[in-house]
């Protein structure tokens, strides 16, 4: 009898603990490692909706997406931000999203709405370009390269650092730019020549920019790095002493940059659908979109959001970015990455 009583009390205790008093609900947002937002903006959303936001930084874009796909039957979060146009096909095919036709989509330009089923909604875009360190080129009296072919010149030997396209979305973006420029039959020859010219490969953008790049706080050894066209603006914003010109700039020749769009989506199986939808609206809304450029250094898709002055002055968008049809990327991406790995790393 005593045993059953104990069992009963234990069950009751667990049941009661499950029905906790109505405190703030927790909304979990899974993101890639580069997600950043101002505390004030986040707190504003939390207070307005009586919710606690938890951000799960889950690795770079590809790895985070794979984690989401693998756990789709018991999702780790309610919302997933971080898929870009190079991985979009994988996310949609895996069916991890819950469609949501946000009212704010009406404002956003069609060129960013790459998913017509409204499962993945665009949040920001950027141009993946090669950044160069002005001071280095000045002291070493080197001409600044203007095209992809220039990078093969022997005077730039060992001076370029790129990210591994298998692990890094800027790396993949740059690879796709070379495929667009040289064609699927010629890009491997280009990369073999780059390899002969001493291109350095690292796994992620953080390492490349902050360890290898001469123009950042890391003071590395490569003055050419695959980064974003907004990175020069970041250098001005975070400079130790006020600057009037950006210390770095981007190479903006035709096909040297790749246009990247990042998406957010509600994960299927979320238990807080209303809140998740509100959060997506929040990410597409003006407050977040205006905060984003100086936090994540990507351009807002919402045309109502005004750009900070540093952007207008120092950041550049590529006039002719390389673009590839998402379905072409979807069909060939993995093969291209495998071929690249064999040609450059092995």
């Amino acid at each position: 009898m005593k045993r059953y009583l104990l069992l009963f009390f234990l069950l009751a205790a667990t049941l009661f603990s499950a029905c906790s008093p109505a405190g703030p609900v927790t909304l979990t947002v899974m993101t890639h490692d580069s997600f950043a937002a101002s505390q004030s903006v986040i707190s504003a959303f939390e207070q307005a909706n009586n919710v606690k936001l938890v951000f799960l930084k889950s690795g770079d874009a590809g790895v985070a997406l794979n984690k989401a796909i693998l756990s789709k039957d018991a999702p780790l979060a309610d919302v997933f931000y971080g898929v870009d146009n190079t991985f979009l096909s994988r996310a949609i095919t895996a069916g991890i999203y819950e469609p949501y036709a946000s009212p704010l989509l009406a404002k956003i330009s069609v060129q960013y709405q790459l998913d017509i089923s409204d499962q993945a909604l665009p949040v920001d875009y950027g141009d993946i370009c090669i950044n160069y360190d002005k001071a280095y080129f000045l002291t070493h009296k080197l001409p600044i390269p203007v095209s992809l072919e220039d990078l093969l010149n022997p005077e730039y030997k060992n001076l370029l650092v790129v990210e591994n396209p298998a692990t890094s979305s800027p790396g993949l973006g740059f690879l796709l730019a070379t495929i667009k420029h040289f064609g699927p039959d010629g890009y491997l020859k280009y990369w073999s020549s780059l390899r002969v010219n001493g291109v350095v490969v690292v796994d992620d953008w953080n390492s490349a920019y902050y360890n290898n790049f001469t123009g950042s706080s890391g003071h590395g050894s490569q003055p050419l790095v695959v980064s974003y066209s907004s990175s020069p603006a970041a250098e001005v914003v975070y400079a130790a002493s006020p600057l009037t010109t950006a210390p770095t700039a981007s190479i903006l020749g035709p096909d040297t940059c790749f246009r990247q769009v990042e998406f957010v989506g509600i994960l299927k199986g979320t238990r807080h659908l209303d809140l998740a939808q509100k959060f997506v609206d929040f990410m597409l809304g003006q407050q977040f979109q205006e905060d984003m450029p100086l936090q994540m250094f990507m351009y807002p898709v919402n045309p109502d959001a005004s750009l900070p002055s540093e952007y207008i002055q120092y950041a550049q968008t590529a006039p002719q970015p390389a673009t590839l049809d998402p379905s072409v990327i979807a069909a060939n991406r993995d093969q291209w990455i495998a071929d690249w790995t064999a040609a450059v790393l092995h």
Binding site: N66, L70, S217, A342, H346
Partner: protein, 580 residues
């Protein structure tokens, strides 16, 4: 657990009168471990292999994939063979040194060589990075000395540093296994050879080494297995250019998301590891020391001749250099500010600082983690305790069963070692896929982590307990029983005092293994309950002085805790007993 107890005493399990068939009793001790292994190892493994290898998935495999598999396999064999060779080159003289000589600081040096084995791969990677990396002590020193503008030594990212790290990791295996065998050799054999006129080199070459050949073989196979399945070292120190089987499995599964290929590679790795572990079991079981084993102390003597002193000095320099330098670089890097924090562009205040340690206790909302690092330490300790309880509960019966070699033991022994060889990534993926729907819907449970750790710790626990349990002479039990003790009393009065030390040692073993496990944890861990190695790896992967410094600080804490654990194991071991 002895046969005698079951037959004669009133309280034994067969007192019910022969209702239990005789083939069940040998299986009983294996029951708990088998269920555990079956549910949490074989079943997830089968699920992931099926996911990768079912006919519809196999069609996606093409020539490129097969070439990649062959390439990875080849490189894995190559670097493992090379590493094993180098480990033997350093380890054999060291084993001779420890087995034959007694000198001041010997136990310290022993512990020093054993610490790396317990360290998580992230700590070793961090240590070598702190020593040999572009911002490491060697490069900084050289740049300072010769006024160079860029780092002269770029070992990180080369095959050399991988080999070095492997030697760092595995020398202790050679020292222990071969050293144990050497110290148990009957000195009279060698003395007889000497009186017959052989010089010391001939004695070493023609008598001593052949006598300990089984242990050299066993050590080589074990070192080869560990080098073959090496993951963290290749990934973190080798960089994107090097790809062994396990790294390739990780890349294909986690980054490229080509599960069929990952499944194929997992299968290849499993078969290889099974083959090696069968080889190992065969060698160990056949390693019967024919001459009367002497206690280790009878083989020790003080260093006398000049040649011996030179040998001692040389080995001391090599061992201290190889083991002490990376281990010391770590804590030094954790208290020195050498580079700017991420994004901070002002002048760097070089110098000593405890900032990195204090930063561990502050939870900045912009941090890549939303739990403060010190909570990761707490989580790791909790998981480790659970692992100890579970692996002892499951491993103790198995160890007693293995203490008496029989057909069942020979059959099941290699299967027990299998979790060590299976890719941690495969295991982690298997967990995620298997336990995500009812009735086994606990993929979101933090308990998966200690379960994974138990899988890895159990073989070590069994191996630690086995010799001690085997060493209990049956006569003692029989004597106690004939004096009237019940089987429980016999166990408490005879068995327990003898195995108590080994049990404590096994517990500490399981504890330190759990603390340091990285491969499986990185896939199975819930983000809100991170472990210490996960936290270290995350901070290491984010550049900038503050992140690097915090990683170093946490790695130092982990190193100290593991070091204390090893010290405890050392003190508790019966000198000379035990395979590790």
């Amino acid at each position: 657990m002895s046969r005698f107890n079951g037959d004669a005493c009133a309280g034994g399990p067969t007192s019910v009168g022969g209702l239990r068939p005789s083939w069940i009793r040998p299986l009983l001790p294996w029951l708990g471990a088998s269920v555990f292994l079956g549910l949490f190892f074989f079943y997830p493994l089968a699920r992931i292999l099926w996911l990768g290898l079912n006919p519809s998935a196999l069609i996606t495999l093409n020539l490129d994939s097969l070439l990649l598999a062959v390439h990875s396999l080849g490189f894995t064999f190559y670097q493992a063979a090379l590493s094993t060779l180098l480990t033997l080159v350093i380890g054999l003289p060291a084993a001779v040194l420890f087995a034959r000589n007694d000198f001041r600081g010997k136990s310290f040096l022993r512990v020093l060589t054993a610490i790396p084995f317990m360290l998580p791969t992230v700590v070793v990677a961090a240590g070598f990075n702190a020593l040999l990396g572009p911002n490491g002590w060697v490069n900084l020193g050289l740049m300072d000395l010769f006024h160079l503008s860029s780092a002269p030594i770029s070992m990180v990212g080369s095959l050399g540093v991988i080999l070095l790290a492997h030697v760092f990791y595995n020398t202790t295996i050679v020292i222990r296994l071969v050293g144990n065998a050497l110290s148990h050799l009957d000195p009279r054999l060698e003395q007889a050879a000497r009186t017959l006129g052989a010089n010391p080199q001939r004695v070493l070459g023609l008598l001593t080494l052949p006598l300990v050949r089984p242990s050299i073989l066993a050590a080589s196979v074990l070192v080869f297995i560990f080098d073959f399945t090496s993951f963290g070292v290749i990934l973190l120190l080798g960089g994107p250019g090097f790809s062994t089987l396990e790294v390739e499995i990780y890349k294909q599964a986690v980054q490229i998301f080509n599960l069929p290929l990952a499944g194929l590679l997992s299968l290849i790795q499993l078969l290889c590891t099974l083959a090696f572990s069968i080889l190992y079991s065969r060698i160990v079981i056949r390693n019967v020391v024919t001459s009367a084993p002497r206690p280790a102390e009878s083989n020790l003597h003080k260093v006398r001749s000049v040649r011996q002193k030179l040998f001692l000095a040389g080995m001391l320099v090599v061992l201290m250099g190889l083991f002490l330098l990376p281990l010391v670089s770590l804590p030094l890097a954790s208290v020195t500010r050498l580079q700017a924090d991420l994004g901070v562009r002002g002048p760097v205040q070089y110098g000593l600082t405890i900032n990195y340690y204090t930063e561990l206790f502050i939870n900045r909302s912009t941090s890549i983690f939303y739990v403060p690092p010190f909570k990761a330490i707490g989580n790791s300790l909790g998981y480790a305790l659970l692992t100890v309880v579970l692996s002892l509960a499951l491993g103790f019966p198995v160890a007693s069963a293995l203490a008496r070699p029989g057909r069942l033991g020979r059959l099941l022994d290699p299967l027990l070692m299998l979790p060590l060889g299976a890719s941690a990534v495969t295991l982690g993926l298997g967990f995620i896929i298997t336990f995500n729907r009812p009735p086994l819907a606990f993929v979101t449970s933090p308990l998966l982590v200690p379960l994974a750790h138990t899988l890895i710790a159990m073989p070590f626990v069994v191996r630690s307990l086995q010799p001690s349990l085997a060493s209990i002479p049956d006569r003692l039990r029989q004597a106690a029983a004939s004096l009237g003790a019940s089987s429980q009393r016999v166990w408490f009065a005879v068995d327990w005092p003898i195995v108590a030390r080994a049990t404590l040692s096994a517990a500490v073993f399981a504890f330190t293994i759990s603390l340091g496990e990285f491969g499986a944890s990185s896939l199975v861990v819930r983000p809100e309950y991170p472990t210490l190695p996960i936290a270290i790896a995350r901070f290491l992967s984010q550049p900038g002085g503050l992140n690097y410094g915090q990683a170093m600080a946490m790695a130092t804490i982990l190193m100290v805790v593991c070091g204390l654990g090893i010290l405890l194991i050392e003190r508790l071991r019966l000198p000379g007993a035990g395979e590790f």
